[in-house]
């Protein structure tokens, strides 16, 4: 049995699943629009929260929040499930699939069979969509793959109950009804943008939002002293992986959010947002420049190798630029300029 589901490739797994699920119910939105409506851009650097033994750096809000925010804004009813028992989790999945409903799952990638071994780290916030079952195999629409694929029931069970930080615990979600659906309007977009700005500017701790980038820069200057040369390089590699790993649309969602601002500016007829989109693109280019120079720590190429102080300086510039962009964006909504 396979549901007639249009599989489309996307940059980010969660956006992609949300977009494809909404598309199944006839709601056509682009991926940047989902990211913008879900306020899916963020920054945090948390030295006290370890991932693979290194400080956690994240360019996205907590997994699952994009789905909740988008469906909440559009007035769509959704259902979440979480399980303790793997067999019950699979039985529930079969039951919902049998009704012809595509189901989104949160999985860990460590055991995911079709991932190259280089990508398989203990990362438990990958999203995919199950759209059918044939015999013992599930038909999967994973938005970061160009094509649909299949996964055995055994493997699916394993990835749904992956262990480590923030285990998925068999989480599954699907759309229950689109009865109270409200089409996209200016109010929703303004609210979502204000939420993003308050995330990026308003959290009163140094490690979150645009100022968090400066905090990362401050920590980076100490890395060689704290962790030694190899440890510092490992930490830097972790930052680059989080920034450019499959699923960010380039430069930690900055380009995708810029694409959202451009689309929203056309939708609302606000040319100043297009201007901000171009500014955010420049910030994205600065991020790319940062990654390019940082990668020289791992592979000694021709040319000048910068020190940690130099790349930390780059981050401080990025921090200031992002603060400026989101400040302007906030003002454009609140005060109309």
């Amino acid at each position: 049995m396979e549901i007639n589901f249009e599989h489309r490739h996307a940059a980010h797994c969660e956006n992609g699943v949300v977009r494809n699920l909404l598309n199944f119910y006839g709601i056509k939105l682009s991926e940047p629009m989902i990211l913008g409506l879900g306020s899916g851009i963020f920054f945090s650097h948390m030295p006290f929260y370890r991932l693979n033994g290194m400080a956690m750096t994240s360019f996205r809000p907590f997994p699952g929040s994009i789905f909740s925010r988008v469906t909440h804004a559009l007035g769509i009813e959704v259902q979440w499930h979480k399980f303790k028992d793997p067999d019950k989790a699979m039985a529930k999945l079969d039951e919902v699939l049998a009704q012809g409903t595509p189901v989104g799952l949160r999985v860990g990638v460590y055991h995911l069979a079709y991932f190259p071994k280089e990508y398989r780290m203990h990362f438990n916030a990958h999203n995919l969509c199950v759209i059918g079952k044939e015999g013992d195999e599930y038909i999967i629409s994973d938005p970061i793959g160009m094509n649909k694929n299949r996964l055995s029931a055994e493997n699916l069970k394993k990835v749904r109950f992956a262990k480590g930080n923030t285990p998925p615990e068999g989480r599954m979600y699907y759309i229950k009804s689109t009865e109270h659906y409200k089409p996209l309007n200016a109010h929703m977009l303004n609210r979502a943008v204000l939420k993003t700005c308050s995330d990026m500017l308003g959290i009163p701790f140094p490690m979150f939002g645009a100022k968090g980038i400066a905090y990362l820069a401050k920590r980076m200057r100490k890395w060689e002293r704290l962790y030694g040369e190899r440890g510092a390089a490992m930490n830097l590699a972790q930052v680059i992986r989080m920034l450019e790993e499959i699923g960010t649309g380039g430069a930690g969602f900055r380009f995708m959010y810029a694409a959202f601002l451009q689309e929203a500016s056309e939708f609302l007829n606000k040319p100043e947002w297009n201007q901000l989109s171009m500014e955010l693109t420049e910030v994205g280019d600065l991020w790319r420049d940062f990654s390019y120079h940082a990668a020289r720590f791992f592979k000694k190429r021709e040319g000048i190798i910068l020190s940690y102080d130099d790349i930390a300086d780059k981050l401080e510039i990025i921090s200031a630029r992002e603060t400026e962009v989101f400040r302007k964006l906030e003002n454009s909504v609140k005060r109309g300029y």
Partner: protein
């Protein structure tokens, strides 16, 4: 970033070629409009990934020497090689962290129960023969 600058550096072998895992980058075209361009990867990112893996590999080789010298059991070597930690392995197998820690010593690994061995091998996605040797 411009459309023509979107990098296409594919370096990792995908076990299931039909899926074709790709990045999707948002880039500006000549008229300043955003376009979606599938991208196969980018060299700096690939280098970062390879660097963290090769570091683990080096660490594992050092541990391998210790295993040969009789300081650790093969379990320790496979744990480092497969980027596992004691806590995550304990979560997967249902054994305690303390137990896993103990099994990293050759003395305790020698008297491991076959059930425990099977559970650990399953959690690491390798065969029991692989787990008990260091080749």
């Amino acid at each position: 970033m411009k459309v023509k600058d979107v990098p296409q550096d594919d370096e990792f072998l995908q076990p299931d070629g039909d899926v074709l895992l790709r990045d999707r980058t948002y880039a500006l075209d000549d008229e300043g409009k955003y376009r979606e361009v599938p991208s196969a990867g980018w060299a700096p990112k690939n280098e970062a990934i390879k660097f963290s893996l090769s570091n683990k590999g080096e660490e594992a080789l050092e541990v391998r020497k210790d295993v040969l010298a009789g300081k650790y059991s093969p379990l320790m070597y496979h744990m480092i090689r497969l980027v596992m930690t004691t806590r995550i392995l304990a979560d997967y197998t249902g054994l305690s962290k303390r137990k896993i820690h103990k099994l990293c010593k050759p003395k305790h690994f020698a008297s491991i129960k076959s059930d425990e061995l099977f559970r650990i091998a399953d959690a690491m996605n390798i065969s029991v023969e692989e787990l008990t040797s260091i080749d």
